[in-house]
């Protein structure tokens, strides 16, 4: 894993969802092949610029996915992983499901951005099942996405509705993938995870000291 040298920054206000998406988009390297998960990560595509030349992958079998389709562009044979009609961009390609997941598992995608219930300081991810009694489990591509890309980033709220940290020492929800998350974007802070060390890259509407107090994992402030 590469250890990035990032400079610590802070802002007075918490990030809005759009601001989080904008920051994720800006961090995606030019020319990258990227899979954006369902929910908040999908919003990242709205902030990618043409100059970045990013190619979007959808696991149901396409590279070069364009924006959501509207009006006459809606084609029931052209949908994304969320089953929403989308469009194709010049240079797009189609492939079957085994190839699509081989592409992911084989480490050919540069970045995958996912939502999460919890992430541990070691980068373990929980995002597929609450484990609640009576809940019908459904996994889809969550486990493949978690471990497949060169970098897996998470976008999530840092705290639950009752104020508990979703960045945890050890997962209490069922595991999706072990040691797979390298960066977490939240409204309050951005974290870099590497070799068991959690580095705070920035804070938003909260001080580093306050974070240290509220989170159950050891934190290092970026230089």
């Amino acid at each position: 894993m590469s250890t990035e040298t990032s400079t610590f920054t802070t802002t007075d206000a918490a990030l809005t969802r759009d601001e989080m998406a904008r920051l994720v988009a800006a961090d995606i390297p030019a020319g990258a092949f990227v899979n954006l998960g369902i929910g908040q990560p999908t919003n990242v595509s709205n902030f990618l610029t043409g100059e970045q030349g990013v190619t979007l992958h959808t696991e149901n079998g396409m590279l070069g996915m364009g924006p959501v389709a509207t009006g006459d562009d809606i084609d029931e044979d052209l949908i994304n992983a969320g089953k929403v009609p989308v469009t194709e961009l010049p240079g797009a390609s189609y492939f079957h499901h085994a190839d699509s997941f081989a592409m992911m598992r084989g480490g050919h995608l540069d970045v995958c951005v996912l939502g999460a219930f919890q992430v541990s300081g070691a980068g373990d991810l929980a995002n597929w099942h609450t484990g609640a009694p009576g809940a019908i489990p459904a996994v889809g591509g969550a486990m493949d996405l978690a471990i497949g890309a060169k970098s897996t980033w998470v976008m999530m709220g840092l705290f639950t509705k009752t104020g508990e940290s979703k960045l945890v020492q050890a997962l209490t929800y069922p595991v999706t993938g072990l040691g797979c998350v390298s960066r977490i974007y939240t409204e309050s802070a951005i974290f870099e995870l590497a070799a068991g060390t959690v580095t705070v890259r920035s804070t938003h509407g909260i001080s580093f000291e306050e974070l240290v107090e509220r989170l159950p994992v050891e934190l290092v402030r970026a230089a």
Binding site: N60, G61, L78, K83, H96, H97, A138, G140, I147
Partner: protein
Amino acid sequence: MAPRIATTAAEAVANIHDSSTILIGGFGNAGQPMELIDALMDCGATDLTVINNNAGQADAGLALLIKERRVSKIICSFPRQSDSWHFDEAYRAGEIELELVPQGNLAERIRAAGAGIGGFFTPTGYGTLLAEGKETRVIDGKGYVLESPLHADFALIKAFKADTHGNLVYRKTARNFGPIMASAAKSAIVQVDEIVETGKLDPEVVVTPGIYVNTLVALGGNNS
């Protein structure tokens, strides 16, 4: 041998018998062989094991087979959806068995069956509930889970066009599970919009070679 060309969906599925294992293509509505599933419903076969990405949506296709308790087991990655009420009810009543498989493992298990692979080690699912009871191995410092091939008696698939040799082309993301399911079944039954004469499909663009296809039926479509 050239595929059998059926004149109706009912004729195409007529050989499907009770207790068959059936691969059904499609991801959402894209590539879902709706007419073949309806014909399967009408043909009466029961105690089926179905392999599909989902477990039926709303009041159509696979959802109706589940509603009528014709499916005793489903192998899928994503059963629970906002409109999977027939599956939810059957599952909560203990009247359908669920084998939940991560989507990429599901695809690879199907591919492995068609490719003659006896099993494979995959990193997906390692350390999770879905790997419980399965053989694991650490290879070059990374954990893997042993997964087995998913063979089937029949595959029901939707493609865009076929020629009379059974060569298939698909449309856009409707390709999804079609090519791998065709290879993994003893008998692949394919509905297409149109069957063209042999020689009319460019060999360079054929996605599923006719060797995998046993039965074809042309049902027209909205996309030609």
